[in-house]
Amino acid sequence: MDEIGLWLLLILAIGATYVWRGLGVVVSGRINPEGEAFKVVSCVAYALLAGLISRMIVLPTGALAETPVFDRVLSTIVGVGVFFLFKRNVLLGTFSGVAVFFVLSVVRAGS
């Protein structure tokens, strides 16, 4: 895909996101945001995202694919663990997970 194609794709993606925002304005006040239809919508979004994220950890593409799955899973577990240990600090948890991954990668590159 050339650069113009990429920009067109981006415009479609922006529109495909804005559809939900605009529709939200249109129907707000007329529909219950806690209703059944939104439960389905939320389940679909969560399943899709969890699928994408777990795939990025278990079966990544590109250069991440050359790192051991053990490193990726361990780093993620450490990140989540630190998050819960330190008052649900998202920044600290994320940083710790990435730091463990970085150290493991450096150690492996050196050995």
Binding site: M1, L6, W7, L9, L10, A13, I14, A16, T17, Y18, V19, W20, R21, G22, L23, G24, V25, S28, G29, P33, F38, K39, V40, V41, S42, C43, V44, A45, Y46, A47, L48, L49, A50, G51, L52, I53, S54, R55, M56, L59, T61, G62, A63, L64, T67, S75, T76, G79, V80, F83, F84, L91, G93, T94, G97, V98, F102, S105, V106, A109
Partner: protein, 240 residues
């Protein structure tokens, strides 16, 4: 809670700016930095990655965009996946807009306020705005959102440039920031239907990906999400 009262719209905006810098701006900067690096390894340009942060303004959709673009998925699969990854904006906006209904009479502005919403700005609006007079709610929210948006753009550019300039091991770690960050966000989800959908999706994602790299993600969302909803419904009938 929020005991502060603002006297003028300007003071409310300034309050929003200050509140954004407490936590949200930093979390957004870090997470968008991960996206900037992912954008680079996925073959996006700096311009495209910045505009996607500023205008899609929903990280899950942006990550789906970069990942599926990198694997060469068809246009329809990419656009649908981005859309579904960001579908949460619909219920979020529906819940948020009544806050601004009386303070912002011109309805055209509601469509602008909707574009500024992200998980962080939405949560701030829902938490703070009910305690503010109607005419100060939008100024507070806009002040908060502008800081978040700028910090997202700065983070994207930083991540992209670092990925270009620094050794591959750093780039790879920054790319890995994306799944770590979202796993942490998911680990904090408490409501039953969400937890079920996350677990089914986490198992289904890699499986469906092996069936089809192009359409596996959409299948995970559609089939996994429907299954999660049904399981939750059955549990609700049994246990309430």
């Amino acid at each position: 809670m929020h005991s502060k009262t603002y006297r003028t719209p300007g003071a409310a905006s300034a309050g929003g700016v200050r509140d954004a810098f407490k936590v949200s701006a930093w979390v957004i900067f870090a997470s968008m930095m991960g996206f900037g690096s992912l954008a680079w390894v996925s073959g996006l340009t700096l311009g495209v990655s910045m505009v996607s942060s500023g205008a899609i303004w929903g990280l899950p959709g942006q990550i789906a965009f970069a990942e599926l673009y990198a694997t060469g998925a068809p246009v329809l699969a990419i656009v649908l996946a981005v859309s579904l990854a960001n579908v949460r904006f619909l219920p979020m906006i529906v819940a948020m807009m009544p806050l601004f209904g009386e303070g912002v009479k011109n309805r055209a502005w509601h469509y602008v306020l909707a574009q500024l919403a992200s998980v962080n700005t939405w949560a701030a609006a829902m938490r703070v705005c009910p305690h503010l007079p109607h005419e100060l709610r939008a100024p507070y929210y806009v002040g908060f959102s502008i800081v978040c948006l700028l910090s997202g753009l700065a983070g994207t550019a930083t991540g992209f440039v670092l990925a270009v300039e620094l050794p591959p091991v750093v780039t790879l770690s920054l790319v890995f920031l994306n799944p770590v960050y979202f796993t942490i966000v998911f680990a904090d989800v408490r409501h039953r239907s969400g937890v079920i959908a996350l677990l089914i999706g986490a198992v289904g994602g890699p499986l469906f990906y092996q069936v089809s790299t192009d359409w596996g993600l959409l299948a995970t969302g559609g089939i996994g999400g429907a299954l999660a909803y049904l399981v939750d419904r059955i549990l609700r009938r049994r246990h309430g």
